[in-house]
Symmetry: C2
Subunit: 409 residues, 2 copies
């Protein structure tokens, strides 16, 4: 295992963790842009743009892009979040250069008006589909309520209204501002021919123009507001709670992940034993999510309407108990075992490893081996978790409920 990095004059960084014993290779462009970098006027543009990259370049039609990926046998895709747009592929080593060349081409897309207008409908169908998933809808609404104007509360998909009004010109402008070489990382993992990749990158990306790219990075502790929305077609109450946590840059992020698991892992957590195992709720989980400059714990609970008060009472008792007595050594050890096995197993695949590599560089400009992360997790103590609970009281949550419409609604 060997780590390599190189930086072009235009600021584009390429990093690679070379593993000669790997049987596959993975490549990814990590663009530091997402819904938090949008204004209301262009809400949803980052995600829409991600779709548009697959529509081709001046020289390649959408059909040719499709066929080109297909020929290599690559497993490829992309995703957009509040703060990242990631394009990735896993492939046999002999096709890595070809797939990388293809991604490089796609990073300078044509953004044709015609494709833009057709794709609008696909985006609106995706918005409609997610609106129909109450577990997704409640999390997004709670995030917006929690961030209360802070850009991290912006919707990734945007709304029908914002997408209807978005123009191809606005997208091209956003693209020009955000897809600057100094705002992206090109990462590799697995069986990679580093010299070839570096010369390919220098030849193909050297002409990309550096820009000044900004992002608002203020930490935010949450609005602590409470809201409920009723929907005629729902049978269950969906509850989301959010409270403040540390950022992706903060060394306490490992303790925060462990705390999330102790309280709300799918199985064997406090929420599991108090809510799910006792059949008060059908589902109850808590997860910590680290972001650029800020972070939050999010809980999702689904139950019958009759049980809402009881569920919230129990959540209150669980959190009071947590603040008063912290967590036990045994709980911490179990959470470590679960987090470590998930981490190690994911990172055994070049494709899984790529995600950690890319995000560590995006957020921290640093390289950590899997071993470094394992050691950081192993080093977390019960006291570390306790100080975290003291600094970020989980009872100060923002609450959003989505459930059956009531008579007065």
């Amino acid at each position: 295992m060997e780590f390599k990095s190189q930086k072009l004059n235009n600021g584009l960084v390429v990093i690679g963790e070379l593993n000669t014993s790997a049987k596959s290779a993975a490549v990814g462009f990590f663009v530091r842009t997402g819904s938090r970098d949008e204004t209301g006027l262009i809400s949803g543009v980052s995600h829409f743009l991600e779709h548009m990259l697959f529509k081709g370049t001046e020289k390649l039609s959408a059909l040719e892009v499709n066929e080109a990926f297909d020929r290599t046998g690559a497993q490829y895709n992309a995703f957009t979040s509040e703060e990242n747009t990631v394009y990735y592929a896993a492939v046999l080593p002999e096709y890595l250069e070809e797939v990388t060349g293809l991604w490089i081409n796609l990073m300078r897309p044509a953004l044709r008006d015609e494709d833009f207008n057709i794709e609008k409908n696909v985006i609106k169908e995706e918005i409609a589909m997610y609106k129909d998933l109450p577990s997704f809808d409640v999390m997004e609404r709670c995030r917006t309520l929690y961030f209360d104007g802070h850009p991290c509360g912006n919707s990734v998909l945007g709304s029908d209204h914002s997408i209807d009004n978005l123009t191809a010109e606005q997208m091209r402008d956003y693209f020009a501002r955000r897809y600057a070489p100094n705002n992206m990382v090109l990462a590799f993992a697995g069986d990679v021919d580093w010299e070839r990749i570096c010369s390919l990158m220098t030849e193909s990306c050297g002409w990309w123009q550096q820009k000044t790219v900004e992002r608002q990075l203020a930490h935010y502790d949450g609005s602590r507001r409470q809201e409920r929305v009723g929907k005629a077609n729902l049978n269950r109450e969906h509850i989301c709670l959010m409270s403040a946590g540390v950022s992706a840059q903060d060394p306490r992020r490992f303790a925060a992940s462990l705390l999330g698991m102790v309280v709300g892992d799918d199985v064997g957590s406090r929420f599991f034993w108090e809510l799910v195992d006792k059949a008060v709720a059908e589902s109850a989980s808590m997860q910590f999510g680290a972001m650029d400059g800020t972070g939050a714990f999010s809980s999702y609970i689904r139950c019958s309407s009759e049980n809402v008060t009881r569920v919230l009472d129990i959540v209150g008792v669980v959190l009071d108990e947590l603040v008063q007595n912290g967590i036990t050594k045994e709980e911490l050890q179990t959470a470590k075992n679960k987090l470590l096995s998930a981490l190690v197993i994911k990172n055994e695949l070049p494709m899984g490893r790529l995600v950690d590599l890319g995000f560590n560089w995006t957020y921290l400009n640093e390289y950590f081996t899997t071993e470094d992360e394992v050691n950081a997790i192993k080093a977390v103590t019960v006291d570390d978790v306790q100080s975290l609970i003291e600094r970020f009281d989980p009872r100060n949550f923002t609450q959003f409920c989505l459930g059956p419409a009531r008579d007065n609604q």
Copy 2:
């Protein structure tokens, strides 16, 4: 990478592919039993039994099983098919022995009446849930029509009726007949301490009693029947076509998988270009499935009711063209690239590797390295595929349609 195997006096085989550079380890029990080994009277018992194993042993309650897995941090689960019941876990190497010991204990379950009666409802909910998925329902109904009395057409989940009538005594009897040590393989992959595992197995499984276990293995070429069922709540037509193929023991299975991809891979296949890209169908795929002693190609197509005739006409043209002219070199190469990258990437993880190891032993009593399989795929020629098409004419299909109820239904 080193392959090891050992056989106890009672016939239990343990195999392992030891990889000292792996960071995790995987373990699995592959029990050679499934719905094809059931009679109508006990339809669904294999799958129900899989659920019951998690309810514990004479010494362990369901709660204790849950906690014991949780402590190790293992990612674990089980699944049941027409011919296999597989229990598996991926874990950090230091917990492999603990998790293996737990699985060994669970292989001799208590099968308590009380747990059996409670779990019945869970099984019936699962049946209801899958009945609501037309893509699943149509495949299962088509399989039953295709096999027309051959046991491979038996339903994995069973029916409300068969589950209602099933007794705990019948399950215990089925368990005693099928979970014999000589009817299962215990497989390991990744970072495994082989000596410790072998002594654990000898100590803990040596007392299991060998039995005579049978299975009907006749090949079957399909009924070629056609049927349609209308359902009031459906808006789309779901079409399943099945035609004969080779068995899991047949060296032509690689050619068959490649043929399935050329005709019906999700993207870039003949079905994709003729049906999906032209917007005649919303989804169209073909897959080859190898089974014990037999095998079949299954296609699934979803379209609007108005397009059914056109879809079936196009399918006819695609298959005629296939029989007349076979496939091209370029198509074969693209299919190989896709199959190879999927295989290699999956097998890079001990958990993915375990599945191939276990099934190769179950079906063939043989060990193949990933390299062996890669070479077998690379060696397939256009002529190999052509002879396969000649022997198994894909136009001789069984057809099941599930769609909106018509006025006369």
